[in-house]
Each structure stands twice: as structure tokens, then as C-alpha cells.
């Protein structure tokens, strides 16, 4: 069975702080794809990153970075120098077949 855990339900930080959102994906599959999506108050799900299980290189995109470690089943997401506009719910979402299995989400509030 597959299980997606985002242990942090809610996080509040002050603007300019760094914040890391945790995701643990337990699966028996040896190959899989992992995604992060952002859901701002407007409601649309915004794609952030797609990684496959063969690629454990950390990735950085502007203020965003991702740390994928297959050995610990973790796919963590860090926002550096957070901004108020980063306030949203963030979902970790492995792909099962052609469909996403969304984690419960972490609500991030960045305070000015």
C-alpha cells in the first residue's frame, strides 16, 4: 500500500524566514514520480515540481529547493526568504498510474 504523510498541518513563519515542508512517501514501488503543488487562496492548484525516483539530486529554482532522499522516502520542500505571497496550502502528490495521490497538505502562513 502507498502512504503519503505531510506531518505538518499548519506552519506560521515571519516574512524572510526559511521554511521546510516535509513529505514522506511510503511505497513498495521501485520507480515512481513525485510532485509538489501549491494551492493559494484562489483555489487553483499550481504545479511546482515533478521528480522521478531515479533522480536524487537536489533541485533549486529561485527561492524554492527540494531534497529527495529515496532511502528515507522523504521529499522535502524548502522556501528560502519566505514572502507573504507564499502563503498557501502545499501538497505533496505521488503519481499512482496516471493519477495523483495527494497528501493531506500543509497550510503555510507567512506573516508580514
Amino acid at each position: 500500500a502507498q502512504k503519503v504523510t505531510q506531518a505538518q498541518t499548519e506552519i506560521s513563519v515571519v516574512e524572510k524566514e526559511d521554511v521546510t515542508l516535509d513529505c514522506v512517501y511510503e511505497t513498495r514501488d521501485t520507480t515512481y514520480y513525485l510532485f509538489w503543488y501549491k494551492q493559494p487562496p484562489s483555489g487553483e492548484l499550481v504545479f511546482l515540481i515533478r521528480r522521478n525516483s531515479f533522480d536524487e539530486q537536489n533541485e533549486i529554482s529561485g527561492r524554492y529547493s527540494w531534497n529527495f532522499q529515496k532511502s528515507t522516502s522523504s521529499f522535502n520542500f524548502t522556501i528560502t526568504a519566505s514572502q507573504v505571497v507564499d502563503s498557501a496550502v502545499y501538497f505533496c502528490a505521488p503519481l499512482k498510474g496516471q493519477n495523483f495521490v495527494f497528501g493531506p497538505g500543509t497550510r503555510l502562513s507567512v506573516l508580514p
Binding site: Y33, R50, Q98, N99, F100, G103, P104, G105
Partner: protein
């Protein structure tokens, strides 16, 4: 259009009535998905269409739920005899590629069953 369009954006219906939710995917996208987002259940997969293949209906919660995709484009999700537990935001998404690449979500339809 430029994005995935869903209508209506909000729908209030009485328990027991049927409702239809519409999704206009991005032009040319062959894959179309429906998801549901509710407080108690989070984000759940409902149904997936890919081209002319038989849809993957494995996520539909009951036989009151059905979906069609006409002409490989517009999709309609129908809920018959609505129940209060059907209250949720119904999200549609479309993509051109496989394996989750390029999936674009709409803003959703907020359904409230009273």
C-alpha cells in the same frame, strides 16, 4: 482557452436533486481528470479520461456519480440524487503528456448541498 475552465464556479442545490458540473480543458489536451476536495477527505481522484480509451472510473465514490467527455474535449460530471456529503470543491485538470507532466488544474466548482 488559456486555462482549464470550470462552470459554474459555485452551485447550491437541494438534497436529492441532480447536478451537472462542466469542465472545458485546455485545447488539444488529451487527458482530463476530475478530483474532489472536501474537508474530511482531502483531495481525491474521481475519474480520468485519456483520448478514446475507456475512462478510469476507479475513484468514483458511488453509482450516483458519472462523467462524460464529448468529442474528446468538454467533460460533464453528473451527480444524481445529491447528498450533503457530496458538498465539496470539484476540480478538473487536463494535460497533453503522460506521467503527470503538464497537468493544469481549473479553479473548481464549489458544490453545496443543503
Amino acid at each position: 482557452g488559456a486555462g482549464v475552465s470550470q462552470s459554474p464556479s459555485n452551485k447550491v442545490t437541494e438534497k436529492g436533486k441532480d447536478v451537472e458540473l462542466r469542465c472545458d480543458p485546455i485545447s488539444g489536451h488529451t487527458a482530463l481528470y476530475w478530483y474532489r476536495q472536501s474537508l474530511g477527505q482531502g483531495l481525491e481522484f474521481l475519474i480520468y479520461f485519456q483520448g478514446n480509451s475507456a475512462p478510469d472510473k476507479s475513484g468514483l465514490p458511488s453509482d450516483r456519480f458519472s462523467a462524460e467527455r464529448t468529442g474528446g474535449s468538454v467533460s460533464t460530471l453528473t451527480i444524481q440524487r445529491t447528498q450533503q456529503e457530496d458538498s465539496a470543491v470539484y476540480l478538473c485538470a487536463s494535460s497533453l503528456a503522460a506521467k503527470g507532466r503538464g497537468v493544469t488544474f481549473g479553479s473548481g466548482t464549489r458544490l453545496t448541498v443543503v
